[in-house]
Amino acid sequence: MDVAEKSETIYVKEMDDYKKMVEISVENLGVSFTDKEGGAPVVALQNINLEIMQGEFISLLGPSGCGKTTLLRTIADLQQPTSGKISVRGESPREIRSQKKYGIVFQNPVLYEWRTVRRNVCMPMEMMGIPKRDRTARVTKMLELVGLMEFGKKYPHELSGGMQQRVGIARALAIQPEILLMDEPFSALDEFTKEKLHEDLLRIWKKTNKTILFVTHNIQEAVFLSDRVVVLSPHPGRVSAVVDINLERPRDLSIKSSPEFNALVTKVRNSFEGV
C-alpha cells in the first residue's frame, strides 16, 4: 500500500467517523406559514443549513420572529417543513419522535397540576409502558439529578418557577432521550434562578452526554452554555452566523467576567443582520 492510498483510507475513515458524529442535519430547510384568509405566506425560515454533532450543546439565538422556535419545532416534528429536509441520525424527525428519542422542555414548565412532582416525571414513562419498578427507580434518579429529591410528593403549584422548570427537565430526561430540545426554558425566570439553572444544566449535560438544542434570545446565556451559537436573523429567518464558543469546560459563573467571554458576546452581537 503506497502512501497516497493510505492517506486516502484514513480520509475515508475520518469521513465515516464524521458522519457518525452528525446527530441532526438540516438541509435547505424552508418553513412558511399561510394565513387562513389566503394572504401571502409568511416565510418563517429560509434556506437553513445546519449540522449538529452528537453530544453537542448548540444554541439557536435570535430576536423574536427570527424563526428559532420554528426551527426547533420542525426538528421536533411539531411543525412540517415547506421545503428542504431534516435528518436525525439518518432518519426523519417523525421516526425519531415515534422512537421517543426527543426530550422536550418548553418555555412554560407544562406540568400536570393534578399530579405530584414524582408522577409528573413519571408520566411519559407510563405512556411508554415502562414497568412500574423501573419507573420508580428512574424518577428517583432524575429528581436527584435536578436536585428535587425532597419535593417528590409536592404538587406543581407548591413549587417556585425555577423548581417547576427543573421538574420539566427531569421529565424530559426520564425517557432517556438522545436529544434534548429546549425552547427558551429559562426565559421566564429571574436572573439568580437562571444562573443557578445554567450551572446545573451544564452539569446534567456532562453527566448524561445528550445532544442539547437550546433556543434563546439571551446572548450571555447562549455563550455561557454552548459549544456553538447559531445566530438567526429575521425577515426571513435565516442563519447569519455560527459562532464557535471555545471557552474551557467545565464552566462556572466566574467566566462571565473574563475578557474571552465578553469578546465572544460582542462577536455574537455583531453577527446579527437587519435587526
Binding site: R97, V110, E113, W114, G147, H157, S160, G162, M163, R166
Partner: protein
C-alpha cells in the same frame, strides 16, 4: 384589633350577616302581613310557625304528619332527580368528548344544544309527559335534559382549555389518542366538568319538582300544588319551600365535596414563600 377586623371581613361573617338580614326582613314582612291579612300563613307565616309545623306531631291526613308527608314525597322526587342527573352527566360528558374529538360533531350539534336549552322547562315538560306518558320517566328525562347542557358545554370548554404545549408534549412522545384523553384531557377538564355539575345539580332538583306539579302520583311538586290549593295544610307548602332550598344548596356543596375528594391537589394552598427559597 387586627383580629376583630379580620373576623368581621371573613366569608363566614358575610354569610352570617346575610342570613341574619334575611330572617329580619322575613319577620318584619310576616308581622306586617299578620296584621293586615285574614289568613297570613297563606302569604307569609312567621318562621317559628313553620318550624313549629316541622316538629308538630299533628296528623294532616289519615296517617302522616306534615314532615312525614314532605319527606316521603321528597324521596320519590329526589331519586328521580338523581337518576336524571346521572343520565344527564353521562350524555353531557360523552357529547363533550365527541365534540372535542371531531370538529364535525361540534359543528353539527353545538348550535342546536343551545336551542334545547332555550325552550322554557314549563313548555317542554308537558311535551315530554305526552311522549313518555309517565310522570316518573318525565321527571328523569327533564332532569337529564337540564343536566346535560351545562355538563356538555363546561366539559367541552375544559377540553378546549388544555394548553397547546401540554398536547404537544404528549405528541412528542407519540402518545395514542386514548392516552391523550385518559392522561391529559379528562383529568385537566375536571374543574370545568365540576362547574357544570354544580350548575346542574340544583337545576335537576328544581326540574324534578316542577314536573311533579303537572300530574298527581306523589312527589314534592304534587304536594306543593295540593297544599297551595288548600287540599292539605299550607305548612306543607312552606316546609317544601325550605326543604327544596336546603336540598338545592346541599346538592351544590355535595358536588364541591366530591370534587375535593377526587382532586387532592386542590386541597393544598399556594406555595408559601419559605418553600421556594429552598430550591433556587
Amino acid at each position: 384589633m387586627e383580629k376583630v377586623k379580620k373576623a368581621l371581613t371573613s366569608n363566614k361573617m358575610v354569610t352570617f350577616v346575610w342570613v341574619l338580614g334575611l330572617i329580619g326582613v322575613w319577620e318584619i314582612g310576616a308581622t306586617v302581613i299578620a296584621q293586615s291579612k285574614r289568613t297570613p300563613e297563606n302569604v307569609l307565616p312567621h318562621l317559628y310557625q313553620i318550624l313549629d309545623s316541622v316538629f308538630s306531631d299533628k296528623l294532616i291526613n289519615s296517617t302522616q304528619t306534615a314532615l312525614q308527608v314532605v319527606l316521603s314525597n321528597a324521596g320519590i322526587t329526589l331519586i328521580r332527580a338523581l337518576i336524571g342527573f346521572l343520565i344527564g352527566i353521562a350524555i353531557g360528558f360523552i357529547l363533550a368528548f365527541f365534540m372535542s374529538m371531531f370538529k364535525l360533531v361540534e359543528k353539527t350539534f353545538f348550535p342546536y344544544l343551545m336551542i334545547i336549552q332555550m325552550i322554557p322547562i314549563l313548555g317542554m315538560a308537558p311535551i315530554i309527559l305526552a311522549v313518555t306518558k309517565n310522570i316518573d320517566s318525565s321527571r328523569i328525562v327533564i332532569a337529564a335534559i337540564l343536566t346535560f347542557y351545562p355538563v356538555a358545554t363546561n366539559t367541552l370548554a375544559g377540553f378546549k382549555a388544555v394548553e397547546k404545549e401540554k398536547r404537544e408534549l404528549m405528541y412528542s412522545i407519540s402518545a395514542t389518542n386514548f392516552q391523550i384523553y385518559s392522561k391529559l384531557m379528562v383529568p385537566s377538564c375536571m374543574p370545568y366538568f365540576f362547574t357544570g355539575l354544580k350548575i346542574a345539580a340544583p337545576m335537576a332538583i328544581t326540574a324534578s319538582i316542577l314536573v311533579d306539579t303537572l300530574q298527581g302520583g306523589g312527589g314534592l311538586g304534587t304536594m306543593l300544588s295540593q297544599s297551595l290549593k288548600h287540599a292539605m295544610s299550607i305548612y306543607v307548602f312552606w316546609q317544601i319551600v325550605f326543604f327544596s332550598a336546603i336540598i338545592g344548596i346541599l346538592s351544590y356543596y355535595l358536588m364541591v365535596v366530591i370534587e375535593k375528594l377526587l382532586s387532592p391537589y386542590k386541597r393544598i394552598k399556594k406555595a408559601k414563600k419559605g418553600v421556594s427559597v429552598v430550591g433556587d
